[in-house]
Symmetry: C2
């Protein structure tokens, strides 16, 4: 914590106005490339900030229910344009606060993706198919998804743009559904989030949305965060981050009957069959090392666990990865907290009996970083305590588990918790190994990949960036992919015997856009009723 | 509790076998028409029964994942046929245990509905559109809903067939998604549930499904019930019943990250605008009285709260309802527990200041019943303590709230918790009243009705039998309506770069039935890919 006076803190955005926070405390972000605090103070908001934000959001939610989807789409597009125009400063800020490379990562990959998501969300809001209108003409019953109320978004440390609380997927989905957002910045990149909020406010003003459609606070006490997601004025929450903090918010939201969508932790098992290893082991080494070490391994879908069957080919694979890990310059980690927790996770695995093949040790002295770390365990070791061997080591570390045979490998898979992804690398004619592995793995993951590393998460309508607990809080929802991600922030409303002019436009006889997909009497169509 | 020896207890159905329960205690149901216990002992199962059921269900779930949907459909249809053939005995048993009329209610309405739901679920399982396949050909990513694992179903007291744990909507939806069911009978009609389980086992045997596809226990301790829904082997749970018991199960399931779908309590507000009351007040009296007193008011969607604006027409309405309530013979309540809790709820309302217009007092002596009860409060009274005035009086009772004007009526609506339904009766040209009322009411309810009482719940694909908390546990799901109700018991799985023959049939290029709706590159179609 800084000792500077509270009045020098950056302002919060509440009810359409930048103003001094009700400062309960203050904090600074760190430049991980220097491992040194950045000289800007941000406030930890007291409850009165949150209380005011919730009231303003509730009023905005009511107003947004009267706002045509077209205007919401215009806001999202205006915001996307402003982001594109401010790209250089955003990239500069995010680089300073996260240590992520300006190019290609921030400027060429994450920012275009973020802008693309906002445009997709705009298109979805405009078209309305996301609301899944269902019309039963005989029974005179019609239903669709509708906005839910203020959505609190807690963004993660690892994607300051694409999952950012004021710019990312949860934000875009919540707005597209017609909800205001209260963004809780990730404490590791508050200035970047502040810039997004400023652009959002400009877009709000230019398109005439309610001023409190987007609000920003930087940090709260745990108690106030839990109170916020459980507040009667809150419609739902989205959280991406550590399991511990996420589960505390989930408990509070659950007890109040408020939906909360979580993306927590995942070790993202990668299985390579013996035949695939024999066929193309060397190429797989490069593919795997690239996926693990990219971005210092700080992806939700980073392959933290790789499963092999013992033999000469797997010995070679493990040795080659050891060499490459040792030779590669470790990437910079996002923050001192990440550096610390990565060290703790590696210690946990080593204490449990995992063998340290390379890496480990103390953090690097001058920046947030640790040696690339590669550990191994046998299938029997893993099965003796699956929970401990599934400890997520978020960062540039991975654990290889070498099973005695395919049967033991399947047993290891059966002992896994829920994960976002699971990958299987196999060879042609390899079905005897593939089938039992895939059958065991599919129920454990949100996305099953073949011959492909999990670190890319395409923005596709067929994407599932989700998975069984504890990867997320519910196995039926995805955090990436338009329109599916929007459903999370909506309520189903049914209109029974309601007269035409009183129905929402999406449910009237005439298709509101001529392009909206609706299910009419069991048939999907863009046509009108009758 | 009976004092008979445990060995005379009815058997439980576990792992395909009727066997003696691990009896922790025992109980008898009551014939509410006599207010007298029925002379059959049922076991309260200890944990070992549940443990065995969960293991058998987990094994069955694995086997069901390899079972073609066609076979699941055949089972549901065979079960429906067996129910139709056993109708007389089922109606006899349910009448004895619940006091519900054999005709028309049980034989002519609820049983045909139940059979119809099972057939609809069979058709949905066969067709596969419920799984919402989404195919992105360019990205080579494909996703659909898939089975989730064993589903624990807790049925309510008020629909022994249509919402029964071994026959009703949750059961049908869970099976259609490919999950085994562990049915927890409602303790008020264990024999009826036992009959359904026996028919289900016959249908399982004739169609060759895994024997543990349907299992039955009658009752557990609260602790064991909570342990069951949180068990790693459980996929999800469905619960319909009282708020108190439901929330205890929800807390346990939530903490373990297990989906649980709840239908709890609802007062189902009915609003009549002054113009509608002036136009057709007498007809509305009959409609309202019929809806409240039907089945002794024991429907989830029973109108327990009616909102009027003060004036002569509403005075007349209230007086006419008073007379009709006083004149009508009270229906029989489902059980001594319902009789007791109805009395408590009326006491709570009276203590809060509601005026007892008719009814109240002691229960009737010879059967489970109470006088039809009609209470009133002013809008100001309601607003002074909305929580207490929303106490659900499950049974033949209703509260009228008379507001000073439309503005106060809207304030009352804004103070409501989540409900399953909300009704508005209005007149032509009544939009000045209708609009603010509907705008306030829609976000509070799962289903908004016009000029229609809420007590009918059509089995329509557009139905939402759900609503915001505490009506249910999540505002995005419906418990009635095929296919939407099926999604609750499924997980989303995405296949990324998976080769054609390794994809689930629903996601391969060829449409598996030629009739399955799939979203291919943004277009809904029953066609093939390419």
């Amino acid at each position: 914590m800084s000792t500077a006076s509270p009045t020098t803190c950056q302002p919060v955005l509440i009810a359409g106005r930048w103003r001094d926070a009700a400062v309960a405390d203050q904090f600074r972000a760190t430049d991980p490339n220097q491992n040194r605090p950045i000289e800007t103070d941000f406030p930890v908001s007291g409850w009165s900030d949150i209380d005011e934000a919730l009231s303003a959001a509730a009023a905005a939610a009511t107003e947004l229910r009267r706002t045509p989807p077209e205007k919401i789409a215009e806001f999202l597009e205006a915001f996307a344009d402003l982001i594109a125009a401010d790209a250089e400063a955003l990239v500069e800020s995010a680089h300073l606060e996260t240590g992520l490379a300006k190019q290609p990562r921030l400027a060429d990959v994450e920012l275009p993706r973020t802008i693309g998501q906002l445009r997709l969300a705009a298109a979805a809001a405009r078209e309305g198919s996301w609301a899944m209108p269902v019309i039963d003409t005989k029974a005179s019953i019609r239903a669709c998804y509708e906005s839910l109320g203020p959505v609190c978004v807690f963004g993660p440390n690892n994607f300051p743009f694409a999952f950012g609380s004021c710019s990312g997927g949860d934000f875009a989905a919540a707005i597209a559904a017609g909800n205001p957002v209260i963004a809780k910045a990730n404490s590791s990149h508050p200035e970047t989030t502040r810039r997004f909020a400023a652009l959002a406010l400009t877009a709000i003003e230019s398109t005439g949305l309610p001023p409190a459609t987007v609000q920003l606070i930087y940090r709260t006490s745990h108690t106030d965060g839990e109170r916020m997601v459980a507040d009667p004025r809150c419609g739902a929450s989205g959280y991406t981050g550590s399991r511990h903090a996420g589960l505390a918010l989930k408990a509070a939201a659950d007890a109040a009957g408020k939906p909360i969508y979580l993306e927590l932790s995942s070790v993202n098992p990668v299985v390579i069959t013996p035949a695939a290893l024999a066929e193309r082991g060397d190429a797989l080494v490069d593919e795997f090392v690239g996926s693990v070490l990219m971005g210092a391994g700080q992806f939700c879908t980073n392959p933290g666990l790789i499963l092999l069957v013992k033999g000469e080919a797997s010995d070679r694979f493990v040795a080659a990865v050891t060499d490459k890990f040792a030779a590669a310059t470790p990437g910079t980690l996002l923050s001192p907290a990440v550096t610390r927790s990565l060290g703790q996770a590696v210690d946990t695995l080593v204490t449990a009996g995992a063998k340290l093949l390379t890496g480990g040790g103390e953090p690097l002295p001058d920046r947030c970083a640790r040696a690339n770390t590669w550990l191994s365990a046998t299938g029997s070791q893993f099965l003796s305590d699956p929970e401990i061997f599934q400890t997520e080591a978020f960062g540039n570390a991975s654990l290889v588990v070498v099973a005695d045979d395919v049967a033991q490998l399947v047993a290891v898979i059966e002992s896994l918790e829920g994960n976002l992804t699971g990958c299987i690398y196999s060879a042609n004619g390899d079905d005897d190994a593939y089938s039992p592995i895939a059958f065991a793995l599919a129920p454990k993951v949100g996305r099953l990949l073949n011959d492909k590393m999990p670190t890319g998460v395409a923005v596709s309508p067929a994407m599932n960036h989700g998975g069984p607990y504890p990867a997320t809080g519910h196995p039926g929802f995805t955090a990436v992919g338009i329109p599916a991600a929007i459903h999370r922030f909506a309520k189903l409303t049914c209109y029974d015997n309601v007269r035409q002019p009183r129905l929402p436009a999406l449910l009237r006889d005439a298709n509101p856009t001529g392009k909206t997909w609706r299910n009419i009497d069991g048939q999907w169509t863009c046509g009108d009723v009758g």
